[in-house]
Symmetry: D2
Subunit: 300 residues, 4 copies
């Protein structure tokens, strides 16, 4: 899972020659013989050197095949020409597929409530160049974090959710988001989003849940962890589906706690895990490392 | 949680002088001022040097106080004399308390079914002197592991559980166990024990559950972990109560897995976590480090 | 190591009654019988309830004894009165000792060069109330991080270190620091401090080193880790002594890496470990949990 | 790193149809365009479905390329026929290469001294089918572990190393080992092997070192770790080269310790890490996941 080169320049370590752009090919389809040969054969024919390649199959016959391949764009060829040449192969194998220029940032919007840790960590990771993400706006149902967000040079939208008037709030959020972003991140946004919203927003939505799912799904996980006396607390980042806290898991991690930790201590310690787990999930998503496989994920 | 000296000899590093025995004092009671002063004052008066001391309170007023104190027995004084002198203090603070000679092994019985990993690790740790445990017998509802157990020089009792005749099996187990052991360990014993059995066996029972409780309580946790797509799998060691998989947790740990691991892989990887978690729980219990606090534990 | 209550109020969970202040007693001395009894006996006599107590001995006879005790200040008594009453006990056992009001922040100065991660994490943890620290100033040999520091409402002092003129730079730093702070933190300050500076600054200095010491002491640890092909990289926080990278270690941690990670990737991944290790070391120091034992530390 | 299917049967989960054998292709060569296309194209032409594929390059031009590909052997074709067809491709790219039948065990010999933990864990993992290894003999410079080894049904050779007569001992070991094994494992064998021995034994040699290398290379690592006051102790498994403790690292791990742990405690805790690190290194080697890259390794 450690970062691999997304540009041949990385491997040269300071070469002054302009390195060719790298393109990612993402594929999922029913597993059959010949997929790798067809894809790599075309790339060879076009003069494109494969930089990295990952593949996984849930079973040779009847199973599902997943692939992430990065290749250097040959000089004189555009990504669209390669896509046109690849389309017939994709058709032959009935592939779900797309290509994405490596390093080209995803357009990202962040929703948040009052807790700052997950949001600030994303903004800081973006600033230091860790994320292939162009964070375009932050929206919140509370005004609290405006100064922090503006300090990072980003617009902050306060969209309050009044009791009994969630549809109005979601409509306002959709005005801000729908069709304008590649990814929406819930960085401890404490409102449940409706199925209609998830359909209309037009982008995958990643959430960070403050427990090791499926343990302590729902509200108040740290209080319940304290009552149950668990010796580790965790966090889970997952794609949001209409079923609460049940979407495909991207990343999880835990931290050790003991009997002396109060529920407030668990919340404080948990914040460190939440921000690192969400940071990895967003990083991997933006690098096209995460492919959804029904209710789970393949993470290359 | 790292092992602390249980005998002053340990600190001298090979002294040839006979070190005095060390006694442990375990206390739980309502928290009030003066408990530590009363206990340490008596020990000082008796000439007993305190070797280690741990204490924890859930709240000064109305909370519960827990203490584990180890002291060197002064020459010329027996543990029973110190107990007699301590009894009035215990009465004054309405303490739950006991003393135990450090290093004196607990008498332990192990129940197991077919999986060997948790059992063999306990037997090996006992052999190399890691556990303050005298494992006296192993009983199983299957005959499979007899040769292994006999190889460690221990008796193996095959007590099959026939369909619909669990009471008879439990009666046979009680004949072997009741009143004869300080601790019963379920090292992947795949039968649910009745409340009657738990009452009659007369010793605490420690179980190892093959998931990070409360996630995946009940049967088939690895299959369900695979379906849910979790990125970590875990194990939980807890005291057994009548409510299945809900007793006070002693220790938990996890291991990272990925999409490529099958349910069988999870089971294989999980075995490593199960044996180390159970080993720690049994070690800590035998060293009197675990005090039960309602549905949870304090682990010193 | 999980945070324990520093005020009785914490345990009551929202009590409206004013909780009494808590005082910490830190002791190190030659181990002898009666230390705990004497200390707890005095506190009991004064009506002071012991909230937490940790102790450790390197050996009963000839060894060294360390203790951290927190007690609730009885109403009507000041910390100075208790100190006066404790002094004779301290004299009897030839103790190194001090008392500190729990929750009273240490005055802290931070030195930094160009990397922002360790500094920003400290400032953020301070802002959210995680550290018992009052960060009073940040000084740097580079101007780069001024805007960030000012954004947190803190003064930023640019003290360049010109080639061959380090004594002048250290003199300027001493003007800013000497006698004014309880702790100096090097949050990736890339200059070696002289023995004279360390003597004159009048406060302990905590550094974060970007390797798992003693591996890769000195410069360029990530490059050397890449060459050596290690499978984990780490960070070490330690007190600074005149001998480079050899002071008493407070905390260490590691993160898993693989062959695909470049030296630049190691540096990026290492930053996450550096900031969390330094954060824990500073937190524990400020909570008086760290006692120096020659070339090592006892961390309660 | 989680286990991937080595046979298509694994994916079918209990299919009664005979699954075709799987063959592994291991390649390292200078990186150039067309390697993947050539290999996968041939396999497609021969009707061989690629089951898994991993690749890594240290740089597109001038770098080194590593690949591990598993494919199902088409019915009617032998591995030798595929090797014959692959040889010209290998020649074209100047590959270091080999094929190995997945699941076919490596012939393994184990050298050990007196500590039992690493040896017993290997023997147990072999017995439960975790390792693609056929452990053929155990040799030791001490007689202590004979009963354990014989209990696993294996021959035990006692080859003492008398002071000043190491060449004679190595000659006896070479009689037992040379040319007869695919791998030699040093499971805490406390003798330094000569360069001549390493050349003549004719198989890679894997060692487990009881520290996180390069920290505490050489003798007495736990004593030195205790003196230095490190907060984590580790273990390192590496290929043995003539330079002591400097061969390519395969796997490392650590465990947290604290000030209360004596050097003896570190040794006991370290044993758990040693056995698990060595177990993973041997498992991965036997599954052909480890490719040497100069002084480091690529682990797929």
């Amino acid at each position: 899972m450690a970062a691999t080169a997304t540009s041949p320049a990385a491997a040269h370590g300071g070469a002054t020659v302009e390195a060719p752009p790298v393109v990612r090919l993402l594929v999922s389809c029913e597993d059959r013989q010949g997929i790798v040969a067809a894809a790599s054969g075309l790339l060879d024919e076009l003069g494109a050197n494969i930089v990295t390649s990952d593949q996984f199959s849930t079973g040779i016959e009847g199973g599902r095949f997943f692939m992430r391949m990065q290749f250097a764009l040959p000089s004189g060829l555009g990504q669209d020409e390669i896509e046109a040449r690849f389309a017939p192969i994709a058709g032959r194998f009935a592939m779900d597929w797309r290509m994405w220029r490596a390093g080209a940032p995803k357009k990202v919007a962040v929703l948040v409530s009052r807790y700052d840790h997950a949001l600030l960590d994303l903004l800081w990771r973006r600033r230091r160049g860790e994320l292939e993400a162009d964070i375009g706006l932050v929206a919140s149902n509370h005004p609290d974090l405006e100064a922090d967000v503006v300090g990072f040079g980003l617009p902050y939208h306060h969209v309050p959710v009044e009791k009994g008037r969630k549809p109005e709030a979601e409509a306002k959020l959709l005005e801000l988001l729908a069709g304008k972003f590649d990814l929406v991140v819930l960085a401890r946004y404490m409102q449940i989003l409706s199925g209609d919203f998830l359909r209309d927003v037009g982008a995958p939505v990643i959430n960070i849940h403050h427990s090791f799912l499926p343990a302590f799904a729902g509200a108040g996980p740290y209080e319940r962890a304290k009552e149950r006396g668990v010796k580790l607390i965790g966090a889970t980042s997952h794609y949001v589906t209409e079923e609460l806290d049940a979407g495909p898991i991207i990343e999880q991690d835990v931290i050790r706690v003991d009997h002396a930790a109060s529920a407030a201590d668990l919340e404080r310690l948990g914040a460190d895990i939440e921000r690192s787990v969400l940071g990895r999930a967003v990083k991997w998503h933006c690098e096209d490392r995460v492919l959804v496989d029904g209710s789970t994920t393949v993470v290359f």
